[in-house]
C-alpha cells in the first residue's frame, strides 16, 4: 500500500490542476445554461405558439439524447461540419451548457407557473410592458425560488462533466485514468477522483445554500417552520 499512497500524493497536484478545468467547465456550462434556460422559460410561458413549439422540440432533443452521444455529435459532427475549431474544453462547455439549459428551462418554467398570476397583472396594471414585468417582477422572484432545484442541476452537471474525458479534455477524470493506467493503481486513483468530485459537489451545494439564504425574502419561510 505505501506505493499506492505515494502514487496518489505524487498525482495530486496533477489531479487538482484537472479540477480547475472541471470547475471551469461547470461554471461556464451552468452560466450558459442559466442564460439559455431563462430565455427558454420565458418563451415557453409567454411565447406564441411557434416559439413554444420550437422550444419544446429543443427541450425534447436535449433531454432525450444521452450526454455522450450529444458530445460526440457536436464535437466530431456538427462543430466540424460548421467549420468551427473548438478545443475539447470549449466544446464540452457548450454542449453541457445547452443540455443544462433545457433542464434549467423546465425548472424556471415551473417556478413561473407557481407564481400567483396577480404578480404579472399588478405589474401590467401599473403600465409596465410585458418585458418590464418579466424582467423586474417575475424573474427576480422565480430565480430565488429555483435555487434548490438549480443546486440539484449543478451537482448533476458537475458529475456529467467527467464525460469530457471521452473527447480528451484534460479534466479530473481524464487525468485520473491517465495516471491509473500507467501506475496500475486503479483502486486508489479512482477513490481519489471520487473524493475530489464529492468535495466539489459539497462545496458548490453549500455555496448555493448560502446564496439562497442571502437572497431570501424577509418574512418568508424557507425552512417550513418559521
Amino acid at each position: 500500500m505505501p506505493n499506492a499512497l505515494s502514487v496518489v500524493i505524487d498525482a495530486l497536484p496533477y489531479l487538482l490542476q484537472g479540477s480547475l478545468l472541471t470547475v471551469g467547465i461547470v461554471i461556464a456550462a451552468m452560466s450558459l445554461g442559466l442564460i439559455i434556460g431563462t430565455f427558454m422559460a420565458v418563451g415557453l410561458v409567454y411565447g406564441n405558439k411557434i416559439v413554444r413549439y420550437l422550444l419544446t422540440v429543443y427541450l425534447w432533443i436535449f433531454r432525450g439524447v444521452p450526454v455522450v452521444v450529444l458530445l460526440f455529435l457536436f464535437y466530431f459532427g456538427i462543430f466540424n461540419f460548421l467549420g468551427l475549431q473548438f478545443s475539447a474544453f470549449t466544446a464540452v462547455t457548450i454542449v453541457l451548457g445547452m443540455i443544462t439549459g433545457a433542464y434549467q428551462a423546465n425548472i424556471f418554467r415551473g417556478a413561473i407557473l407557481s407564481l400567483p398570476q396577480g404578480q404579472f397583472k399588478a405589474a401590467s396594471g401599473l403600465g409596465m410592458t410585458d418585458g418590464q414585468a418579466i424582467q423586474s417582477i417575475i424573474l427576480p422572484q422565480i430565480l430565488r425560488i429555483s435555487i434548490p432545484a438549480w443546486s440539484n442541476e449543478f451537482s448533476i452537471i458537475l458529475k456529467d462533466s467527467a464525460l469530457a474525458f471521452v473527447i480528451g479534455a484534460p479534466e479530473i477524470m481524464a487525468r485520473t485514468q491517465f495516471v491509473a493506467s500507467r501506475t496500475y493503481q486503479h483502486l486508489s486513483m479512482y477513490i481519489t477522483a471520487g473524493i475530489i468530485y464529492f468535495i466539489l459537489t459539497w462545496a458548490g451545494v453549500m455555496a448555493l445554500r448560502k446564496l439562497e439564504q442571502h437572497v431570501h425574502i424577509p418574512g418568508y419561510s424557507y425552512n417550513g417552520n418559521q
Binding site: K121, A122, G219
Partner: protein, 254 residues
C-alpha cells in the same frame, strides 16, 4: 351627470371564455370626480368588467375611449398607455413579494415613468405617508398586515398619477378589524375628488360615496341609479334587496 365630460367611455364590452359568456354588451362611462360602485352576486362579471376597463383582460369586442382617444385593443402600445392612466387595486393586493413597501412603489415610477432613484423614492415616501405607512417603508409584504398591504397597494397605484382608479373588492380579503383603515383611505380619496369605479360589498362605501350604483348580474348591468334612487325607503329594486341581504349579514355577524 350628463353635462360633465366623460374621461373614460366603455361601449358594448363583451367577453367570453369558450362558450361561457362573462360580459355581454356592457357600457360604462366615468366623468371626472365621479364614483361608481358595482354590486351584484359573484360570477356576475364585476371583476371581469373592471379588468376589461384597463385591458388586463382584453375584451372580445367593444370600444374603449380614454379622454376622447380611442384605444386600439390590438395594439400593445395603446394598452400600455391606457394602463398607465388607470390605476388598479386588487382584492388580494398583489404586492410584489420580493420588494419592500417602498420599492413596490418606486419600481413602476422608475421603469414606467423613468424617474431617477432619488425622485422615485421621494414620491414613494410621500404616497406612503398619505396612507399612513411612512414608517413601514422598509418592510416586505410578508411582514405587513392585510390592511397595510392594501394601503401600500393604493399608494403604489396613486404614485402613478392615475386619472381613474379601479378597485376590485378592495376590502373583501381583509379581516373585519382591518377593513376600517382601508375604507378610511378610500373615503379620503373620494373627498379629494378621485375618479373611481369599484366593485364592493361594503355597505358604507356603497351608500356613502357612490354617485351611481351599477347592479350586475349574468354579465349585464341590470339596474343602475343613484343610491338614493335604488336604496331609498320602500324601494323594491334589486339593489335594495341585495343590500338588505348584506346588511342582514353584517348585523348577524355583529
Amino acid at each position: 351627470m350628463n353635462n360633465r365630460h366623460a374621461i373614460l367611455k366603455c361601449t358594448d364590452i363583451s367577453k367570453s371564455y369558450g362558450n361561457q359568456t362573462i360580459l355581454s354588451d356592457v357600457s360604462v362611462e366615468l366623468a371626472k370626480g365621479e364614483i361608481k360602485v358595482l354590486i351584484g352576486p359573484s360570477g356576475g362579471g364585476k371583476s371581469t368588467l373592471l379588468q376589461c376597463i384597463n385591458c388586463l383582460v382584453v375584451p372580445d369586442s367593444g370600444e374603449i375611449t380614454m379622454e376622447g382617444q380611442r384605444i386600439d385593443l390590438s395594439r400593445k402600445q395603446d394598452l400600455y398607455r391606457l394602463r398607465q392612466q388607470v390605476g388598479m387595486i386588487f382584492q388580494d393586493f398583489n404586492l410584489f413579494d420580493h420588494l419592500t413597501a417602498l420599492d413596490n412603489i418606486t419600481i413602476a415610477l422608475r421603469k414606467v415613468k423613468k424617474l431617477n432613484k432619488v425622485e422615485a423614492k421621494e414620491r414613494a415616501l410621500l404616497e406612503l405617508d398619505q396612507v399612513g405607512l411612512a414608517d413601514k417603508a422598509s418592510l416586505y409584504p410578508a411582514q405587513l398586515s392585510g390592511g397595510q398591504k392594501q394601503r401600500v397597494a393604493i399608494a403604489r397605484a396613486l404614485a402613478m398619477d392615475p386619472k381613474i382608479l379601479l378597485l376590485d373588492e378592495p376590502t373583501s380579503a381583509l379581516d373585519p378589524t382591518l377593513i376600517g383603515e382601508v375604507i378610511a383611505v378610500i373615503k379620503g380619496l373620494a373627498v379629494k375628488g378621485m375618479t373611481m369605479i369599484m366593485a364592493t360589498h361594503q355597505i358604507s362605501l356603497i351608500s356613502n360615496i357612490a354617485d351611481e350604483i351599477l347592479f350586475m348580474e349574468k354579465g349585464r348591468i341590470v339596474e343602475h341609479g343613484t343610491p338614493a334612487m335604488l336604496l331609498g325607503c320602500g324601494n323594491d329594486s334589486r339593489s335594495q334587496t341585495f343590500c338588505d341581504k348584506l346588511n342582514d349579514l353584517s348585523a348577524t355577524e355583529g
